[in-house]
Symmetry: C2
Subunit: 411 residues, 2 copies
């Protein structure tokens, strides 16, 4: 096993040499090397950056990038609150540099960091971290496994973990290297528990906010909160201890999708299952993706146009519960077929969503879907984990955390 | 298991409806829907297409796309030459439509085909196909497994197969769906043997011909043939039966790369191993990536500047053998860590290369590398397969094949 100390020693050897010279931010070196003009740089995804520091962590309300690596970790035996604090200092510093297209201290791979391509690295804490850090009394009430549902077929392989890193970028090589860097940087403190990769449409700069499609062909995320106010309502923690304010809660569900049986359906049946058209994503009572659905509309037979058991109808907030909204940020997966399965594909969703409190948001919504949702015939929840996402960082602002979870770990 | 007939029946139900309306080529629908101007469309990867038909199959000399799915197939028992011919007609037709951003007959997912993003689908025939088709007497001498090398640790999991499809695109959702479509379209004839995914820098439209980097941080492919004449010399079959002319031969090696031990090296050692600088990719005797290396240059101690055991020095054509050049088209892979391994990452190369004759090109080069190559300390060949790539198609040109391998299968 390779330790960070090993890497740092290696770095020392050439600290005065070419590696440092190559550490300039991406926007400068790439622009110069290509000889591209400013106007072209503006549409060059490779050099685009998402600010790392701020009130909230990036990667939550950030428009989706094309690629995801979601990595969960187990804290190694013997690592205590001090160890976790050191890891968070180190990880935050490295993530900040990577997301700016700079090379972390001790990295000898500046060439793999110069194209951030909207890289974001976002950190979350699992329930057991509070025990290990000796701060179990601080653990929020909602930080526990999602209650078991009748239709769940959960595999512990994709279960709860001590820590999570969500790494997203529009460049696959950057995504791979940044993930690798974070894993090796933390190697003295944590080991990988699971690794979930995913992808979305590479809409690029032209259509960054378009709703991406899942592998059932559906636009996935139409009813997401979009304005700052809507996102504040759904996702950012507003009450509780100081260390939690402006944080969020990630629920990750791994959802297998059976493409073989889904694709036997005609298009009308597919649209009825969801309550939306496949082409525009409009509700079956409307014409535009963002039209409000009319659940009272009926067809010439007097039947509801939007089936009350459609996915859309079942997932909408319950009467009198406007808080039942989540900020969805799901990614598709498509892996080599499982040789033990009859299915032609091994595909689905790394379903990631953010909220203030899963007990009041994800869980009641999923409870309704588990009870009845036409889509259930083709999807199966096979993994589940919950993480507290600390608020954003800013080392230059004494009112903000210097590193991920500083307020909590130093409480 | 789902059959193509099932899909076709499903399609029939709605043939007069919305699916057909949604089948317009990508460049039209996407452009219109976005309201984007022509000048922006020119840099919109999503609607870009690579011509499917032509003298050669696309996806061989085509500039690299960001994503790869390489799928190998086993022909089902009972499928004979007629069956293979039917599969090739059907696959060629579907691939042609997918690559144009159109929806194949019988597909109900027009929304997943409208962003080809430079999609290419390229087909190859394995050795056993010649036996199954009853044309063993036509099998070229070079269509056999690559000879075993001393350092090989080949796993049959990534071994020889009857057929291969190389699917590449700059959009991950398009890549996934096109692969899925081809697998299900062929389900009556073939089952998936293996599935290798890979990725490269998403350089996009600005720098499509830049040499991409592998996960060791090296520019990978600098000495590739680049001009039409160089590619003709290296990759396109010029002699033999008519059905082989303008075809090529794919060698796929799966090469595991140990990032943990590689990254312990300082940068100088990394550069010596390859014979090139990491930043520009220039030979250690030059300053530009494309400078000719000077293997006779010595340093102040009289030692060669380019180590004779460096990867570059060992892979260059042997004296008097200018034919020892291959057209490389490798992709990186980075999967979840193997729980049985001490390594932090499970990464490497899906090393794809094209040539006229592997016995005269890949094999002698690899023989030298197997005997001595500084890089061998960090890389291991774990899979190997060889495929004949039929020439290009053109249904409107009576001098060309109407579908993949028509000349061979109808010989």
């Amino acid at each position: 096993m390779v330790t960070r100390r090993g890497f740092l020693t290696g770095a020392g050897v050439i600290a005065g040499g070419s590696a440092l010279a190559a550490c300039a931010p991406a926007a400068q070196t790439t622009g110069a090397a290509d000889g591209t003009s400013t106007s072209i740089d503006q549409v060059n995804l490779a050099v685009q950056t998402v600010p790392f520091d701020g009130r909230h962590q990036a990667g939550i309300a950030t428009p989706h990038q094309a690629g995801l690596n979601l990595v969960a970790f187990t804290i190694r035996p013997g690592v205590d609150r001090d160890g976790i604090t050191r890891l968070m200092r180190l990880w935050t510093e490295d993530a900040r540099r990577l997301c700016a297209g700079q090379t972390p201290l001790g990295s000898l791979e500046p060439e793999l960091t110069v194209n951030p391509a909207n890289l974001t690295i976002t950190c979350g804490f699992g329930s057991r971290l509070f025990d290990i850090a000796g701060i179990a009394d601080q653990r929020p009430d909602w930080l526990h496994p999602i209650p078991a549902f009748q239709r769940d077929q959960l595999d512990d392989k994709w279960g709860e973990a001590d820590l999570v890193l969500q790494v997203c970028s529009d460049d696959p090589v950057t995504l791979s290297h940044a993930t690798r860097h974070m894993i090796r940087a933390g190697v003295d403190y944590v080991g990988t528990r699971w690794f979930q990769s995913g992808f979305l449409n590479a809409n690029g700069v032209l259509d960054k906010k378009a709703t991406p499609r899942n592998l059932f062909g559906q636009k996935d995320g139409t009813v997401n909160p979009r304005t700052d106010e809507e996102i504040q309502q759904a996702a950012w923690i507003e009450e509780g201890p100081d260390w939690a304010i402006d944080g969020s809660v990630m629920v990750v569900r791994r959802i297998a999708m059976n493409l073989d049986t889904w694709e036997i359906l005609d298009r009308t049946s597919r649209e009825v299952s969801v309550g939306r058209t496949l082409d525009t994503g409009a509700p079956l009572t409307g014409t535009d993706e963002f039209d409000d659905p009319d659940y009272t509309a009926t067809d010439s037979y007097g039947l509801p146009v939007i089936d009350p058991v459609s996915h859309m109808a079942r997932s909408k907030p319950a009467e009198g519960h406007p808080e039942q909204v989540i900020l969805r940020r799901p990614y598709n997966y498509d892996l080599e077929p499982d040789p033990t399965s009859e299915e032609l594909s091994n595909a689905g969703l790394v379903f990631i969503c953010f909220q203030k409190n899963p007990d009041l948001q994800f869980t009641p919504i999923q409870q309704r879907l588990d009870e009845a949702d036409r889509l259930n015939q083709w999807i199966t929840h096979i993994g589940s984990a919950v993480f507290f996402m600390p608020p954003g960082t800013d080392p230059d602002d004494p009112g903000k955390d210097e590193f991920w979870g500083a307020g909590l770990l130093q409480a």
